[in-house]
């Protein structure tokens, strides 16, 4: 299994294949879609998951979010969210970048 323990900052998170992530203009929000269900994401969750494309490491995502939210105090929140998203099965991890 190429699914290293989450939150090694050098690993690459991406949306798990069971889920589809998209912007819904009607709801003015990002959503996660899965068989017969939907989660409407708040702004922060949407901004984090938007970056989980398998091409950026957790480290790069956090660095990018520090700029987006103009704050250096977001690391713990982002890590906590990624941990819970991983345990919910929304996000999976790879050692390297997805081509």
């Amino acid at each position: 299994m190429n699914n290293p323990s989450p939150l090694s900052r050098t690993s690459y998170p991406r949306i798990a294949p069971l889920y589809r992530f998209q912007w819904e203009a009607a709801q003015n929000a990002y959503v996660l879609l899965f068989p017969e269900g939907m989660v409407q994401l708040n702004v922060a969750a949407g901004e984090i998951l938007r970056r989980c494309d398998g091409k950026q490491s957790a480290e790069q995502i956090i660095a990018d979010l520090r700029i987006a939210f103009q704050s250096d105090a977001i690391d713990d929140d982002v890590e906590a969210f990624l941990r819970s998203a991983t345990s919910d099965g929304w996000v999976e991890w790879r050692d390297g970048a997805t081509p």
Binding site: P17, L18, R20, Q27, L33, E36, G37, M38
Partner: protein, 379 residues
């Protein structure tokens, strides 16, 4: 789906009943018993327009069902258009008619997920309940679905004749690699209502099965998520009707009638609008049918003054009609309803000892449907 997040109701979920044609004849089908009346199905182009209008209203989940949706030769075109519009597309199928060629075409069209129905874990009962020989075929289709990398929901309608096999049904779901298992106890509308005496499980059966499911959940963790829905008749509080009438769901029937729930076609005094001559926007926002049970102004007592009214919104309209004769009554599943005794009479009353032998099941066939239509026509 959390509709409470949305200030104005939005039909997040659209169910497209593409056809009433079906190779199966399940005795618990929720289709209307007079489905044989419906002859003219929406065309490919009409469905395209319906999808686009629904998407513009905010619909994002699309259930493609029937009948058997694979009976439509244009299913792949419909999936491709729905995908292009940004829907998450769910194919809800018996598996009959799904071969490698169609599976690949559906994948290429952008299909997101397949829900495959089984009627039981055994060939004998599966084939008996659906009145077909389909068990082996379904096993092959499950392999095909997983082979193409689709998430798969296995669905099995539960009732008196198969509820004692719940453990083996869960084993089957694990074996075929389903991500979700829906064990949906029969709700008694349509054909199931005709066969209620034979299909309603006993309280003892229900309690045993709940213990079995709880045991499995503990043991297997997250590899398979089991949704277990018990029959409303064994509850003392009703469920919201489709998450609230006209709040989240829109069902479009094969002939274009637009309904707040699957079974609304049988409700008297509700003039269902048609997508053939009215836009979905007008139907959703302005039609008397969709506004009839929105909010709480329509509620009678004991709902009107009930502190729980916002939770269940008065319950299921179809159940209220079938059990009380009044579509606007409190759902009698609620033990505050003055007519709750009717529900108790059903669940505690005498039952056939050998259900399907003493009283044969009425299978969902066009012949039976036509006979039932004729029976209603001659009083």
């Amino acid at each position: 789906m959390n509709a409470a997040l949305n200030p104005a109701p939005m039909p997040l979920w659209m169910v497209a009943e593409l056809t009433y044609r079906c190779p199966l004849h399940c005795a618990f089908c929720s289709n209307p018993v007079d489905f044989a009346k419906v002859e003219s199905e929406l065309s490919t182009e009409e469905w395209f327009r319906v999808f686009a209008e629904a998407r513009a209203l905010g619909a994002v989940q699309l259930g493609l069902t029937g009948g058997e949706p694979l009976s439509r030769p244009d299913l792949e075109l419909l999936v491709a258009e729905a995908h292009r519009l940004g829907f998450y597309t769910n194919l809800i199928t018996s598996g009959v008619g799904l071969n490698e060629t169609r599976m690949r075409a559906l994948k290429d069209a952008g299909l997101d997920h397949v829900q495959l129905s089984f009627q039981d874990s055994t060939r004998e009962l599966n084939d008996f309940l659906s009145s077909t020989r389909t068990f082996d075929l379904k096993r092959r289709v499950a392999t095909l679905i997983k082979g193409h990398g689709f998430p798969m929901v296995m669905n099995c309608v539960i009732h008196r004749l198969n509820i004692d096999h719940v453990d083996r049904i869960i084993d089957l779901a694990l074996e075929i690699g389903a991500e979700y298992l829906e064990l949906a106890n029969t709700q008694f509308y349509g054909w199931a209502d005709l066969n209620r005496a034979q299909l309603l499980p006993t309280r003892e059966q229900l309690e045993r099965s709940e213990a079995v499911v709880a045991g499995y959940r503990q043991r297997i963790g997250k590899q398979l998520r089991i949704l277990y829905v018990i029959s409303d008749l064994y509850e003392t509080r009703p469920k919201r009707c489709m998450n609230g009438w006209g709040t989240t769901f829109m069902v479009v029937a094969p002939d274009g009638l637009v309904m707040p729930c699957h079974a609304a076609r049988m409700l008297p005094g509700i003039d269902l609008p048609s997508a053939r001559n009215t836009s979905l926007q007008q139907i959703w926002r302005d039609s008397p049918a969709f506004n009839r049970f929105r909010g709480d102004q329509w509620m009678p007592e004991p709902c009107r003054s009930c502190p729980e009214k916002a939770k269940d919104l008065g319950g299921c309209r179809c159940q209220a009609f079938l059990l009380t004769g009044d579509v606007g009554a409190t759902d009698p599943v609620c033990d505050k309803s003055p007519l709750h005794g009717r529900v108790l009479q059903i669940v505690n009353g005498p039952r056939p000892v050998a259900p399907a032998v003493e009283r044969p099941l009425v299978f969902r066939t066009p012949e039976n449907s036509r006979r039932l239509i004729a029976d209603t026509a001659e009083p």
